[in-house]
């Protein structure tokens, strides 16, 4: 049953049916009530009509009764009766006219058709209608007679009759009386039934078919008394028999019944009627409406309902149709869609946009179709991928069917063997007509299990074949075959086999016993050598316990266990024993061997016969023991030497530092430590790098050296340093020195360096001295050059070592250097010297050369010769010039060699002017003398300074070292003196003591002098220092009774910026000098004054004084007028004072006393 029908049924059942039943029910009810109402209505009407008729007739009756009482009638009726035959009788006319007057009125007012008067015979005597006169008063209608007859009795209503005019009429008669109330006749009202008809025709005007009718029963018939709606002539004519099936209501009515109901009327139509009986007339009166009309509403309603129902029905049908459609169509479409999808058309879409469940279902369907499509696509892709995989596999994959055909072959197969083209495998692969005998593929079909075999393809390659039973999608049994090309593999296998064979031969040919041992320690394989070594056969060996063949089986077991645990063992010593009793010492080298997975399979062991080896070892041991003894001896010796070396190193006056190749400073000798001013090993036992932050090294020119240019860095790079002068200064304190570095890399026997050795000397003082020297030399040179005299320094061999500028200017040579190491004659331009190739000294004239003679004389005697005047010719400025020369030759010792200084003056002019200047000869000579002396002094100074620089360092060291022994001697003397308790010896001890004092002084001065450096200025109180010095001096000369006078209160509270230690030294020296000079009983005065920022302190004594000549040299180092003394005291004092930017001077008179004054600036001038 379709949805449509279902829906329809649904609608019908749930909509239509109730509606239907309800409407039928209501309709029925309505009809019923309507009928009731109608009937009641009709009843009312018929009753009303009845009453109306009755009341009308009653009215008429009343009127008639009234008329009966009319005077006129009473009066005139008898008249008329009498004159009836004479209508022209004036009485008649008058009576009629009177009666007319009234009765006409009555007739009009009662709407009678006529009023009649009948006499006592019943003859009509009067009529209101004239025509009636003419008609002779109706003829004798029976009805009038009846009316008369009955009227005599009382008011009589006649039956309805048709009058002469064929009109329904009715007589109403009643007796009339005369004035004597005698019966006089009958009054008759002739009523046209139309009145009645209008009564009954009125009320049913509301309906179309409704009418009221009257009828009378006559016999067994009902006669219609009124004209009918549908039969206007029915009155009195139409009749119906009682019992007929129509005009039922009338039948009932005329039968005297009252009622209502639905009946069939005179037409035979269904009517709703109400009837009743008017008993006064024996009339039945019926009100009826056609049922049709009566229930027209109901019928209308019914019709409407029917129509509605039909409409609803139709609507329902339509609705159900359309809804069904909206459901059925999509569902149909859905089913179509499913069909489409089922048939493979996944593109189908319903495209339903309804918002209801169907629509949702459709959309869901669409989505499903979509999903299926993509799923299908995905599956297709996967299938394709799978296919691609198959295609790209490096092995062949084919499907074989029952019939030896190849429905599927992948690319590999196709490439190698071509397309099957539907041919059978043996056909197209091998061009055979029958199945290959060796083909094993089809075994699969028989056994239904996988099969694996090797196949030689038509391309002569070996394939490893795997066959699988395979069921096709439609259940057909097939073979899935996979073939792997193993040709190469086979070749490789063959190679392997060959290799294996080869290695086997190798193993067998090895002289070393080789074995393989299983995890349980059993021999699994041996070679010939093992067989020989053990003296057993292969069969005897294999499967037996490895350790059985050794003297120490346990050790052997441990050995191979070790291999298992460690993976290998090398040189494991064991002793094999041969069956014949021989023992063979061996070393085993063994390792595990694993399978491809890495699982240990066993141990492979090789033995090495070491019997001979062992013997050699023993020999070696013996030698080694001997060697050790020797080494011990040697080591002891070495240690001794090393210790001695250490002592030497430590006692060097040079600083020595040993460093490793990385710059770690391993050893410093004491001197090195001392020179750097270190006290703590922490400071210096470090890497060189650590010093780069503390020290700054620079060249003598003042260029700061980077770390890689430091002496050690250079040495480490392989340089050998020698006397490398470096200025070194500490960045964190005020300390700077000049060191002379030397060093090199110490190399071992192969020449590989292993240590760096650095030597250093403190040449600060030397530098200062050298600087002083240089300055002096410079000034000397300046002096040398400035003098007008040409000067030549000539050595013993007669070679000129040095000339001064004057000489070179004479020669016209600006370049000095070319004029040294030459012979004097050559330099001077002696023409004799120049004329001969050999030059000066080798010409005939040379023997008589006065210059030569003079300087040779001086060299020989060492005595100066001055004032030799020579006349000679020299080649000067390109010209032979004759001139007078005056020559002074002085001997001088330089570097322990004898030299002379040749001073030459061109005295030509002088000679020429000598006459004029003869008297100034003395002056000249003196000048020359002075000059020579000056020169000598300068030379001496040079000597001194040079000596100083050498001596200085030596002095410092010596002095320092001497201190200790001196102290010891002092102590010893003290003790000796005390112990001796011998007055005779006291003097000697005293002398020793004095000398010790002296020695100390010397040392002090020496040390001090060599260490003079920049003053450490502080604000010091010189007064106190002087006091200390006085005390020290006093204690040095305890036996001297010398009075000290202090006149230096000015400086009691004065603070001077100076170095306290140095100042102490100064004043100590001065005081000691004074002490020495004054001797016992003398006095020394200390005077002081201040002026202009300078403080002057004088030490005055009244001692022996100093010779004037000596005063000049008093400040010279090592100059002393005393037999004892270093000669450094005043030098030191002067040096110190100079360093303080002060000055020192000495005044003395021999025999009277000496005053030494020291002037110092109070504030140290920092810019100085």
């Amino acid at each position: 049953m379709s949805i449509r029908l279902k829906l329809f049924i649904l609608f019908f059942t749930f909509a239509l049916l109730p509606l239907l039943s309800v409407s039928i029910f209501s309709l029925f009810n309505y009809e019923k009530s309507l009928e009731r109402d109608r009937l009641l209505q009709l009843q009312d009407i018929v009753t009303f009509e009845k009453e109306e008729i009755e009341s009308y007739f009653n009215g008429l009756k009343a009127s008639l009764e009234m008329a009966e009482g009319f005077y006129n009638i009473k009066k005139n009726l008898p008249i008329l009766s009498q004159s009836t035959n004479d209508k022209n009788n004036p009485e008649f006319i008058t009576a009629k006219s009177i009666l007319d007057q009234q009765l006409q009125q009555v007739k009009l007012s009662l709407k009678l058709s006529s009023v009649l008067l009948l006499d006592t015979q019943g003859t009509v005597v009067y009529s209101s209608q004239t025509e009636d006169y003419n008609n002779d008063f109706l003829g004798g209608s029976g009805h009038l007679k009846t009316a008369f007859t009955e009227g005599k009795k009382g008011i009589y209503f006649s039956d309805i009759f048709l009058d002469a005019g064929k009109k329904e009429s009715i007589f109403i008669s009643g007796p009339a009386h005369d004035l004597d109330d005698n019966f006089a006749g009958i009054i008759v009202f002739k009523l046209n039934m139309g009145q009645i008809y209008s009564l009954i025709h009125g009320p049913t005007g509301f309906s179309k078919t409704g009418e009221v009718l009257i009828g009378k029963r006559v016999g067994n018939q009902a006669v219609f008394l009124s004209p009918l709606k549908y039969d206007s002539t029915a009155a009195l004519k139409r009749k119906v028999t009682i019992g007929d099936k129509f005009a039922m209501p009338l039948q009932e009515a005329v039968s005297g019944k009252s009622g209502s109901g639905q009946m069939v009327d005179y037409r035979g139509k269904k009517v709703v009627a109400a009837w009743t009986y008017i008993s006064g007339f024996n009339w039945g009166i019926v009100t009826k409406i056609d049922t049709e009309e009566a229930f027209a509403e109901a019928i209308e309603l019914r019709n409407m309902e029917i129509v509605t129902l039909i409409i609803v029905f139709l609507l329902a049908a339509l609705m159900s149709f359309s809804i069904a459609k909206s459901i059925a169509k999509p569902i149909k479409k859905l089913s179509k869609g499913a069909e489409e999808l089922g048939s493979g058309n996944l593109n189908f879409r319903l495209g339903n946009s309804q918002n209801d469940e169907i629509g949702q279902l459709s959309r869901t369907f669409d989505k499903m179709a979509q999903d299926l499509q993509s799923l299908s696509a995905a599956r297709d892709a996967e299938r394709k991928r799978l296919y691609d995989v198959l295609e790209t596999l490096p092995v062949y994959v084919i499907l074989l069917d029952n019939d030896y055909r190849v429905p599927f072959a992948n690319k590999f197969f196709r490439e190698r063997f071509g397309d099957a083209d539907g041919k059978r495998c043996y056909e197209y692969l091998f061009k055979r007509s029958q199945v290959c005998e060796n083909c094993e593929s089809y075994k699969v079909m028989a056994t239904n299990s996988t099969h694996h075999w090797e196949w030689l393809g038509p391309d002569n390659r070996n394939y490893d074949i795997y066959d699988f039973p395979f069921s096709d999608s439609d259940g057909e049994k097939m073979i899935l075959e996979m073939g792997i090309d193993i040709t190469e593999q086979k070749k490789a296998e063959e190679k392997l086999r060959q290799a294996s064979l080869y290695s086997r031969r190798l193993i067998e040919s090895s002289l070393d016993p080789l074995v393989t041992i299983s995890a349980e320690g059993k021999i699994t394989d041996v070679n010939q050598a093992t067989i020989r070594a053990t003296g057993r056969t292969r069969e005897e060996l294999i499967g037996t316990e490895f350790s059985n063949y050794f003297t120490e089986p346990k050790k052997a077991q441990e050995g191979y266990q070790k291999v298992f645990s460690q993976g290998f063992v090398t040189d494991y010593p064991l002793t094999m024993h041969n069956k014949d009793g021989r023992l063979i010492e061996v070393l085993y080298n063994a390792s595990v061997f694993k399978d491809v997975q890495g699982k240990v399979m066993g141990v492979f062991a090789a033995a090495r016969d070491i019997t001979v080896l062992k013997q050699a070892e023993n020999e070696l041991k013996k030698h080694r023991d001997n060697l050790e003894i020797l080494v011990k001896e040697r080591t002891g010796q070495l240690e001794e030497i090393s210790a001695r070396l250490q002592t030497v190193v430590d006692n060097l006056s040079e600083g020595l530092i040993v460093s490793d190749l990385k710059g770690n400073l391993l050893h410093w000798n004491p001197t090195a430590i001392f020179l750097h001013g270190f006290t703590d090993p922490e400071e210096y036992k470090r890497n060189l790098k650590d010093f780069s932050a503390k020290f700054e090294l620079s060249t003598s020119k003042g260029e700061v050296l980077g770390f890689d240019q430091w002496p050690l860095s250079r040495i480490l790079r392989g340089e050998v340093l020698h006397e490398l002068e470096i200025n070194i200064r500490r960045l964190d304190k005020d300390w700077q020195r000049v060191f002379s570095y030397g060093g090199l890399l110490a190399k071992d026997k192969e020449g590989k360096p292993f240590l760096a050795i650095i030597t250093l000397n403190d040449i600060t003082e030397r530098r200062i001295a050298e600087e002083t020297l240089r300055k002096e030399r410079e000034s000397l040179q300046a002096i040398f050059d400035v003098v007008d005299t040409g000067m030549l320094l000539v050595d013993e061999q007669g070679m000129v070592k040095k000339i001064n500028k004057t000489v070179s200017l004479w020669m016209g040579e600006k370049d000095f250097s070319s004029l040294t190491d030459k012979l004097p004659g050559n330099i001077l331009g002696c023409i004799y010297a120049l004329s001969r190739e050999q030059g000066c000294g080798n010409t005939p004239a040379c023997s008589s050369c006065l210059i030569r003679q003079t300087f040779e004389q001086v060299l020989k005697t060492g005595i100066s010769i001055h004032g030799v005047e020579i006349q000679t010719v020299l080649f000067l400025n390109g010209v032979n010039t004759s001139l007078w020369l005056e020559i002074n030759v002085d001997p001088v010792t330089l570097e322990n060699k004898r030299h002379v200084i040749l001073s030459i003056n061109n005295v030509t002019l002088r000679k020429q002017a000598e006459e004029i200047l003869k008297r100034d000869k003395e002056t000249f000579e003196k000048l020359v003398d002075e000059k020579s002396r000056e020169l000598m002094n300068v030379q001496l100074k040079l000597d001194h300074v040079k000596r100083l620089s050498d001596i200085g360092t030596l002095a410092a060291t010596v002095a320092h070292e001497l201190r200790n022994p001196l102290a010891a001697i002092k102590m010893a003397v003290y003790n000796a003196q005390r112990k001796a308790q011998n007055p005779i010896l006291d003097k000697h001890f005293s002398n020793i003591g004095i000398k010790l004092h002296e020695s100390e002084n010397i040392i002090d001065n020496l040390l001090f002098y060599s260490k003079i450096k920049a003053p450490h200025t502080a604000s010091i109180n010189l007064f106190n220092i002087i006091s200390t010095c006085i005390n020290d001096a006093k204690s040095r000369f305890p036996e001297y009774q010398i009075s000290i006078i202090r006149n230096d209160d000015v400086i009691k509270n004065l603070l001077v910026e100076a170095d306290a230690v140095q100042m102490k030294e100064v004043f100590t020296n001065l005081l000691i000098n004074s002490f020495d000079a004054t001797g016992p009983g003398g006095h020394i005065e200390i005077k002081a004054e201040t002026a202009g920022g300078i403080v002057k302190i004088a030490v005055k004594d009244n001692g022996m004084g100093i010779e004037k000549a000596d005063l000049e040299n008093i400040f010279q180092p090592f100059f002393s007028t005393k037999a004892k003394g270093t000669g450094l005291g005043l030098t030191v004092a002067q040096q110190v004072v100079k360093l303080h930017d002060g000055s020192i001077y000495i005044e003395s008179q021999q025999g009277k006393g000496t005053t030494v004054t020291v002037a110092l600036p109070i504030k140290h001038n920092r810019n100085a």
Binding site: D650, P670, T679, D680, H960, R963, N964, P965, L966, A967, A968, K970, M971, A972, Y974, N975, R978, E1000, I1003, K1011, S1035, V1061
Partner: protein
């Protein structure tokens, strides 16, 4: 109770002579120039006063003084030195509290004896 003095100087003769002098003055003196002996002397004895040469081959007087003071803080420490600026050196070595007195070389016997008397009184 005579005071016990430890005298250490690397100059053997000097050391002996000074020790003799001190003994004559009534002190009990142990003297040595050997550093090994020094160690054992310190270990086995407590001294009231020690006279230590500053500069010795293997160690300094300060080092030695530290060892002594470690064992016996009551020992009076005197440093003997021929160096200039020995005070500064002592300062630099953070040993000012350890050193009760300084004797400069060369010294006068009298001043040494005085100093010892002074310092050992305390």
């Amino acid at each position: 109770m005579p005071k016990k003095i430890l005298l250490v100087d690397d100059d053997l003769q000097l050391c002996d002579e000074v020790a003799e002098i001190l003994r004559d003055e009534g002190y009990l003196v142990d003297n040595t120039s050997d550093e090994n002996e020094v160690e054992s002397l310190i270990r086995n004895n407590d001294y009231d006063l020690c006279l230590l040469d500053y500069k010795m081959p293997r160690f300094t007087g300060i080092d030695l003084l530290r060892k002594i003071k470690n064992k016996n803080p009551a020992c009076v420490g005197i440093i003997v030195s021929g160096r200039p600026f020995i005070e500064k050196t002592i300062q630099e070595q953070n040993a000012v509290t350890l050193v009760s007195g300084i004797i400069e070389k060369p010294f006068e016997i009298a001043s040494v004896l005085n100093k010892i008397k002074e310092l050992s009184r305390g």
